[in-house]
């Protein structure tokens, strides 16, 4: 049998069901791999004992005849999900020592399905970043390196720890969240599969809020089938989240028929960018060819407001963030820095507790919401948002799904874009429109750059049609036959 850490969720599920291994064996292998990978800094909190206790409980449930859809499967949880009795930091100093007295709905759903928690993954502070460099706990290193080069690369962000844990083979899957691309871009940078479902598909209850009208949870896994299985366990209607969608939950795994004959796939001309590496356009063309060969009809489409998505996002998201982050006041949880009076205590606490990127966005958000600027910025952005959503509505009258690149580049070195916020924001140029429109999207590893780094293709689908998204993703995955994997250079030679 292959190494236990090389198994996918679906394979492990079958071996566990046949009694060929226990959750304890599977979990112990991942706990060990996680400890060996500490140099990657993917975890804020490792929970080896907790994981083994949960694995034993899973084995006991199986022995008594009860099994869930993720029974005995070890997963990592992004440190944005509140976990009862376990430190939850959102990658920020301001949440120092915060131990939630409750469990997020998404993680509770996973434990209900029998999954095992390995630990909490590192992330950009409050999910604000595209390189994992804004975490208070230091950056995460991408398991991938350029061919013949030892320079450390970013894993993407904000869910860089989750993507690294999965790509580095010390978690079988990981929860993540995506406000502007924070699942799909790190998945593309690490050769993993990352899906942001339709807004409202996964409950936001107990997930530390960044921009509430855009935030959505989803899974990062090593293949499309595992992604469908894990999303099925995470998703579902939750009365505790007023924006949770009360719609039927399909069997996503059953949607992977491999048959896309007759499907119409849109290719938006606005997703060709000046200065984008030629190899990304080549990969995109390859993807178009794969879908055509599989029997889909390719349709040239136009999403005319695409170029305005990113600047509109950088009004809407900071505005919502400035409001959501008002709760970090040194009174109810986390850090407090004393001051001469209450106002000074607030100002000292928030000055010490927030990093540079979070401060920048809270200030932008405060500015665009302030008297005299609200109409010119915030209202304007909300109008642009409607035009972007309408663009998608119009094209989905004629196409079933859309194929685009996931990100405009492969993974880059630390510090490369650290001094230029707008260059960093451009990472999300292909992913942000789906957040503004609330639509599902998935990144699938589809090839390697000339330097040997993974590149992803993104499939977008209409609202609540993750089944078509997964079906097309499965075909892209099979045609791409992406078998490359990072060398485990962090392991000491044994």
């Amino acid at each position: 049998m292959a190494a236990l850490t090389d198994l996918g969720i679906a394979q492990a599920r079958d071996l566990l069901a046949k009694g060929e291994m226990s959750s304890r064996e599977l979990t112990a292998a991942h706990v060990e791999a996680m400890a060996e990978a500490s140099i990657l800094n993917a975890m804020v909190t490792e929970l080896p004992e907790h994981a083994l206790t949960m694995a034993d409980a899973s084995d006991a449930r199986r022995a008594s005849g009860t099994t869930g859809s993720l029974e005995g499967i070890p997963l990592a949880i992004k440190d944005l999900f509140c976990t009862k009795g376990i430190l939850t930091t959102a990658g920020s100093h301001i949440l120092d020592g915060f131990t939630p007295p409750y469990e997020s709905t998404v993680s509770a759903n996973l434990w209900q399905a029998g999954a095992v928690m390995l630990g909490k993954t590192n992330m950009d502070e409050f999910a604000m970043g595209s390189s994992n460099e804004t975490s208070y706990f230091g950056p995460v290193q991408n398991p991938w390196r350029r061919e013949g080069d030892n320079q450390a690369l970013v894993p993407g962000g904000s869910s860089g720890g989750s993507a690294t844990a999965v790509a580095g083979r010390f978690a079988m899957g990981a929860t993540a969240t995506d406000t502007g691309g924070s699942i799909r871009q790190p998945a593309a940078f690490t050769g993993t599969v990352g899906c942001k479902p339709t807004y409202g598909r996964c409950s936001r209850w107990g997930v530390v809020a960044f921009a509430s009208s855009l935030d959505q949870a989803g899974p990062i896994t090593r293949d499309v089938r595992d992604n469908a299985i894990m999303l099925g366990a995470m998703a579902g209607y939750d009365p505790k989240d007023s924006t949770s969608a009360d719609v039927p939950l399909p069997d996503f795994e059953a949607a992977l028929s491999g048959d896309i004959r007759g499907l119409k796939i849109g290719v938006p001309k606005e997703y060709v960018l000046d200065g984008m590496p030629g190899e990304i356009e080549v990969l995109w063309q390859q993807g178009i060819g794969w879908l055509r060969e599989a029997g889909a009809e390719i349709v040239d489409i136009s999403l005319p407001h695409t170029k305005y998505a990113l600047p509109a996002y950088y009004i809407v998201a900071p505005a919502e963030a400035s409001s959501n982050l008002a709760r970090y006041d040194g009174v109810r949880f986390g850090l407090r820095e004393e001051g001469a009076d209450l106002t000074e205590m607030y100002e000292n606490t928030r000055a010490a507790g927030f990093g540079a990127e979070v401060r920048r966005r809270v200030l932008i958000g405060t500015y665009v919401l302030s008297a005299g600027y609200y109409d010119a910025y915030y209202l304007k952005a909300q109008k642009i948002r409607r035009l972007i959503a309408q663009d998608f509505r119009d094209v989905y009258e004629t196409v079933d799904a859309i194929l685009t690149p996931s990100a405009p580049s492969a993974a880059f070195p630390f510090g490369d874009k650290a001094d230029d916020p707008i260059a960093m924001y451009l990472n999300d140029v292909f992913t942000v429109p789906a957040n503004l429109a609330g639509l599902p999207g998935i990144s699938v590893p589809a090839g390697l750059s000339a330097e040997g780094l993974p590149l992803g293709l993104q499939i977008l689908a209409p609202a609540f049609d993750e089944e078509t998204m997964f079906r097309v993703a499965g075909v892209v995955e099979e045609a791409a036959n992406f078998t490359a994997r990072p060398e485990q250079w962090w392991k000491s030679p044994s």
Partner: protein, 95 residues
């Protein structure tokens, strides 16, 4: 639109984030750069476009006005930097 040092100081105070004097100038430059980049939105005619606050079409759900959680004062103050006898303690506000 570019912002000056005084504007940064004003919005930092509105956001209750302490910013040191020497940080105001670089922050003003950074924020101005971002705001200028955002201004490309003015190319789009939005005169007859209603603003969109949420991707949800449906109205918010109603529920009975009943208590469905609570009675956990210890949980509520457990994470407070200064939780005393079931209260959040703050610096003196009233002279």
């Amino acid at each position: 639109m570019s912002v000056d040092k005084a504007t940064v100081a004003r919005i930092a105070h509105l956001a209750r984030i302490g910013v040191r004097e020497e940080e105001l100038e670089p922050l003003a430059a950074e924020l101005s750069g971002i705001l200028q980049w955002i201004e490309q939105l003015n190319e789009v005619d939005t005169d007859h476009v209603p603003p969109m606050a949420s991707v949800h079409d449906q109205a918010l759900r109603w529920r009975g006005d009943v208590v469905n959680d609570g009675g956990k004062p210890e949980d509520i103050v457990a994470n407070a930097p200064d939780g005393q006898k079931g209260f959040f303690a703050v610096p003196k506000v009233i002279e």
